[in-house]
């Protein structure tokens, strides 16, 4: 064994790096050793811990041939302005080779308000598409046959309502619900933890989620009725292990609620999907995805006794880390996104969104969105990494790191179990506090230049202005006009009746999806339906943890 001295990292020439030798840790502060050898895997067993792709414990991926038989879905998150604006962008992206749709809604829609609500002022169409009624949804999918493409919808508190609109559009197009593919984010737990787009308190919100899962299990067997997400938890500043642990523990919570509803585990778990971040630290991310599959396999088998492989093989979408992209020297972001996307692919993702270079400034221009799409296509067709499954399998480093990330996640899952589950943990602000602490620690490390961000705290330069997408205030005015027209043309009597029926049902225990669907078809607006539920469920306010 060589007795080489540890090499101290040399300071780069710019002169504005501290020059102190740093500990070698991941971006999540996880220590990384100088070298990994066979000795690091002394208690590792390839048969038990690695397996083959498409077989337990799914460490290597969920399909035997992985990308050789089918590439990940290129699914770019998009949405801004009016339904017509977004429809145009959707059709453009599909024409450029995107293989799945992903809808970004504006904040009023996300929070259950119509575009003409007083709280919607200044916000309509600014960070996603404005959808206030079934009419808007119809416009959104104009000339897009829903049996030809799958759609992911990033919507949480009003997910049931927006999904009902999607199902109504499918019905109008003559598409059989049994063939409808797509994903509904619908993960309310991570809203309390990180994204904060909650409307109602936790228990009625979990009821709504369980209603959609149950409805989907019966009527839309190809539709993922939930996308259990770590992306937002990571964006809020968590470590990779926290992202993994909190997401999986959220998953456990949804399974428990589904079982309490009376569903058999293998009847609904196959349509629970997941959504992870693809952050900067290349190997930590790959280890995270591999650990995720192994933990879910073990959990579904040992904790829940699932029999179907479709319940035990975790499917996930990944998105490159928005929070890692900089306002300074924005073209650097193209490189960051490419590396992050590569990690997601080498980690075996089923679906991928790559961010645009102007992420820190505004919603993407067509140019930036196209370049982000091309990034995936270059990965898919030019890099060669798709030719074999789990290229890093067997690496001393990656297997060790996978073990360590898995171990760290189990510890957190245990802590949350001890608190009584995720809902109690959220109520005591446990995950929120962990995330606030991790995000502060990271910021301090960046401020002290212990973590370098190129172009921001090192290698800075003169900034050139960047042309960005401008969204005007006219969308709100147009939407307000449309809503006035809608309310004049529909049967307000029927709307009132449907909303009243919904309120009564919400007070009881029946599945609300059929009633929401009826309200949507009567052209009750999103805001009206959400308000009706607010009347029964109340609203949630957090006690913020800084």
């Amino acid at each position: 064994m060589s007795s080489q001295r540890e090499q101290k990292p040399r300071s780069p020439d710019s002169g504005n790096i501290s020059g102190k030798p740093s500990e070698f840790t991941t971006i999540s502060n996880h220590p990384i050793r100088r070298i990994y050898t066979l000795e690091d895997l002394s208690s590792w067993d390839a048969g038990r811990d690695l397996g083959l792709p498409g077989s337990p414990p799914y460490t290597r991926g969920i399909h035997p041939a992985m990308y050789r038989s089918r590439l990940w879905t290129i699914r770019q998150f998009a949405g801004f302005g009016s339904a017509e604006d977004t429809n145009r962008r959707f059709r453009y992206l599909l024409s450029q080779g995107q293989t799945g749709l992903s809808v970004a809604f504006d904040l009023p829609t996300l929070m259950g308000y119509d575009s003409d609500h007083v709280f919607a002022e200044g916000e309509v169409g600014k960070c996603g598409v404005a959808i206030s009624s079934l009419a808007d949804m119809e416009a959104l999918f104009d000339r897009i046959p829903l049996d030809g493409v799958s759609t992911s919808m990033t919507i949480n508190s009003p997910a049931a309502v927006v999904w009902a609109m999607y199902l109504a559009v499918a019905e109008k197009q003559g598409v059989d619900w049994k063939t409808l593919g797509g994903t509904l984010q619908n993960d309310i737990l991570k809203e309390y933890i990180a994204q904060k787009e909650y409307i109602y308190p936790p228990k009625p919100s979990m009821r709504l989620v369980t209603d959609t899962i149950e409805f989907g299990a019966r009527h839309t067997p190809k539709f993922n009725t939930i996308s259990i997400s770590g992306y937002h938890i990571r964006e809020a500043g968590s470590t990779a292990i926290q992202e993994l642990a909190f997401t999986l523990r959220d998953g456990i919570e949804y399974v428990e609620w589904g079982l309490r509803r009376g569903m058999a585990v293998d009847d609904f778990v196959p349509r629970l999907s997941f959504f992870f971040n693809a952050h900067n630290d290349f190997f930590e991310e790959i280890a995270k995805y591999r650990a995720a599959r192994r933990i879910w396999y073990k959990t579904m088998t040992d904790r829940f006794g699932a029999k179907s492989p479709r319940s035990r093989a975790m499917r996930f979408h990944a998105q490159t880390a928005g929070c890692s992209l900089t306002a300074q020297q924005p073209y650097n972001n193209v490189v960051r996104t490419a590396l992050q996307a590569l990690a997601a692919v080498m980690g075996g993702t089923q679906s991928l969104h790559t961010n645009s270079l102007d992420e820190a400034w505004a919603l993407p221009t067509e140019f930036a969105a196209t370049l982000a799409l091309r990034t995936q296509q270059i990965l898919a067709y030019e890099s060669g990494v798709t030719s074999t499954a789990d290229p890093f399998g067997g690496s001393y480093f990656v297997e060790s790191l996978t073990n360590e990330v898995e171990q760290g996640a189990w510890e957190y899952i245990g802590k949350i179990d001890a608190l009584g589950g995720m809902v109690p943990a959220i109520e005591s602000a446990y995950p929120q506090r962990e995330i606030a602490d991790a995000s502060y620690r990271y910021q301090m490390a960046v401020d002290r230049k212990e973590k370098i961000i190129v172009g921001v705290n090192a290698f800075t330069g003169e900034e050139k202005p960047l042309e960005t997408l401008q969204i005007g205030e006219s969308v709100r005015a147009e939407q307000s006009l449309r809503l006035r027209q809608l309310r004049a043309e529909r049967s307000n009597q029927e709307v009132t009746r449907r909303l009243s029926d919904l309120r009564s049902a919400a007070r009881g225990e029946q599945n609300l999806m059929p009633l929401i669907y009826d309200a949507v078809k009567a052209y009750a607006t999103l805001g009206e339906i959400c308000a009706a539920l607010r009347d029964v469920f109340g609203t949630h306010e957090e006690a913020p943890v800084t």
């Binding site: 996300l110 500043g237 505004a362 995000s439």
Partner: protein, 134 residues
């Protein structure tokens, strides 16, 4: 006589729920010895102006990542003026396109802090620019 501590209100106007930055700034200013009140999410400009008056703050820090800054920030500035609080220093951080900055400064925002700003720079700015009430 000990110097009066600078009082800062950190606010999240509008529907935007992204609070990572606001919480970090609140903590950094607190660690720097200031009195910091964090409003929590989904505050209207009216709520922020009332809180600022009630808490008698020297500085307001707004965090907006939703794109609604061109509506919400000027609304707050108008309310502050109405309440005779035009001397309060108002700062803005978040997702703010460069093209929007001149108009925001024109409306009275003292400074806009883009993603990538260090907490030390913000602490220093607040120390140097906090309006002091006599």
């Amino acid at each position: 006589m000990p110097e009066k501590r600078i009082r800062v209100l950190i606010a999240k106007p509008g529907l935007d729920g992204h609070d990572r930055g606001a919480k970090i700034i609140a903590r950094a200013l607190r660690d720097a010895g200031m009195e910091v009140i964090y409003t929590g999410l989904r505050q209207t400009p009216e709520m922020i102006a009332s809180a600022a008056a009630q808490e008698d703050v020297d500085v307001i820090g707004l965090s907006i990542l939703s794109g609604a800054h061109n509506t919400l920030a000027p609304q707050l500035m108008d309310l502050l003026k109405e309440k005779g609080m035009g001397d309060v220093t108002v700062l803005l951080g978040g997702t703010i396109p460069a093209a929007d900055i001149p108009a925001l400064k024109q409306a009275g925002i003292a400074e806009i802090f883009l993603p990538g700003t260090s907490t030390q720079d913000i602490v220093a700015f607040v120390r140097n620019h906090a309006a002091r009430k006599t």
